[in-house]
């Protein structure tokens, strides 16, 4: 009806109806004081009548800033990423930016295309949780807009990032298991190419050294990518005669897989891992979880980015690195210790 071919009414149309030029319409909408009250009212009336909405595309073309920042994540369905996205949104909105979200759906090779697409759409900056270890496309992107990394450090890039206390958290959680007397702890981790993978393994290892316990290499499984692969790996380990007396998982997906394996095996042993998750407290399992605020990662990343955008004309500040703290949470029954061995579920 109102919508003509190629979009709704323009400022020119509004101006014609209100008997003024398009420029005056622009002024009214911008709340420029140099417009008489009478004119202002006529313009508003015309805007209402036509249902006029300002074309932000044209506006940002003229003004040279889109007011958008891009966020690239691998899997929105993982609460870690959706919370991170919420944190970014929160801060961005506060500073008048709009967030355009891109999801690579677990396909690492799609990420460069998404980044390019966002740049083509004139985002003023990017926040990326890099899916793989190749970051060349990010170096390219940095030629155009500032880039902030979240949850992974830059590899050969000079830019800001927000990290979790991966090493520290892993060490603390592992230490907690060791303190209970466990000496055969399995490590279920994501691919070593991922920063979080190696860093959390380092923490796992460090805790062992500090406790004077030699980790058993045959209990270390890396390269797990989702709950299914983790479940299988955990099942294999649990099946062994000299299996582990406790498990350490590097993220929520892997914990889920391991828990499912435990459940199917009809046994339970203490599990420590990264990422708290919904209902972790009602599972009735002895869980030691390294929890942190994914929202906060997003918020911090957004702050770093917006700060860089604000000082765009000055000397770019040196690359900053912000750390989000972790906190260890205990759930479920007190651990029976390794002596009890795997015990059947009640």
């Amino acid at each position: 009806m109102t919508a003509r071919r190629g979009g709704g009414p323009t400022m020119h149309d509004v101006g014609k109806l209100a008997q003024v030029s398009a420029m005056t319409v622009s002024r009214v909408l911008k709340n420029d004081p140099g417009v008489s009250q009478a004119t202002r009212e006529r313009v508003f009336a015309a805007v209402d009548q036509l249902g006029y909405r300002r074309n932000e595309t044209a506006r940002s073309l003229r003004l040279g800033g889109s007011g958008m920042i891009g966020l690239v994540v691998t899997n929105l369905a993982n609460p870690f990423y959706s919370r991170l996205a919420l944190g970014v949104q929160e801060v961005a909105t506060e500073y008048g930016f709009r967030v355009v979200l891109s999801n690579s759906a677990e396909q690492v090779e799609k990420e460069p295309g998404l980044v390019d697409g966002l740049i083509d759409h004139q985002v003023e900056g990017l926040i990326v949780v890099p899916a793989g270890s190749r970051q060349k496309h990010l170096a390219d992107a940095m030629r155009h807009v500032p880039v902030v990394l979240a949850a992974r450090p830059p590899a050969g890039l000079d830019t800001d990032c927000v990290l979790v206390e991966d090493f520290h958290g892993a060490r603390e959680a592992t230490a907690s298991l060791l303190a209970e007397g466990h000496t055969r702890i399995a490590f279920l981790g994501n691919p070593p190419a991922l920063y979080t993978g190696t860093e959390r393994l380092r923490g796992f290892w460090a805790a062992h050294e500090e406790a004077g316990v030699e980790p058993d290499n045959t209990l270390i499984r890396q390269g797990l990518v989702d709950a299914a692969t983790a479940e299988q790996a955990a099942a294999e380990l649990l099946d062994r005669a000299d299996g582990p007396t406790a498990l350490f998982c590097t993220n929520n997906r892997i914990s889920h897989g391991a828990i499912r394996a435990l459940h199917k095996a009809g046994t339970t042993i203490p599990l420590a891992g990264f990422d708290d998750f919904e209902l972790s407290d009602v599972l009735g399992l002895p869980l030691t979880l390294v929890s942190y605020d994914a929202d906060e990662i997003g918020r911090q990343a957004a702050r770093l980015l917006i700060d860089r955008l604000d000082q765009r004309d000055g000397q770019p500040p040196a690359a900053r690195r912000v750390t989000v703290p972790t906190r260890v949470i205990r759930h479920g029954p007190p651990s029976a210790g390794p002596g009890a061995g795997p015990r059947p579920l009640a």
Copy 2:
């Protein structure tokens, strides 16, 4: 360095370097056959050297279509919405559209602003999961672009929507509890202003009628908005001497709250509810869940929208209504039936 004030190099810059006009650059990038091989190569070389990227903002201004569709949801952290978003992305990408995601962060009153913002940014269509029952802002939006509703039906609007079998699913799950002999089933539901709330209550009620069981009104709690309020409501009901022997929850948040209440009370009774959730199978509780594919809702919504965009110039088709099927899933130990009453956890 490359980035000058107000953005990177333009076609004009590329043209100057390659000794051609901007128009020819445009032709090369569009793969127009009417360009000599020599020129084509010079242009590509210049593009590479300058790191040129086409400005999609300017392009869509000229071409009159942004290639973007907007998606408005209330809470990305809820897996229902993030999966829906993934479904939308999947189909949109397939058809060459980009998805711009907006999140109202549970604040109903922000939704109109988000919708307006997306329209200002020239999205070609909108998919909305309306947060409240007021839909006037959507009627306004429809003056500019096609709108498709997801998971909620239109209220006074003439447009497409994708729905879940709310009534059917609720009836089936409730019937399953009734078949086990339960006659005192509590209903924990979201606000009746929400379509899903009333529809699922209707199903709950219908199952009772069919079974010849009179529902106890004092066991019906509506207006629960999150896990916390649900937990409290469930706790109150469980505390009563004539409490329920089973629970029905209208969504995943409410189920979570109820489960937590059961856990804290140290008892367990069968629970039926909408939405499957992660780890539901390892909780060890008697669960009857109405599951459906949230991705599919998103996919269908995107298809309806894109279809409408394709036929923009023809006669707009009548409002369509697509339904996504539900499936009942059983988890946990076989129900002991109501006779057993609440039983302590092992």
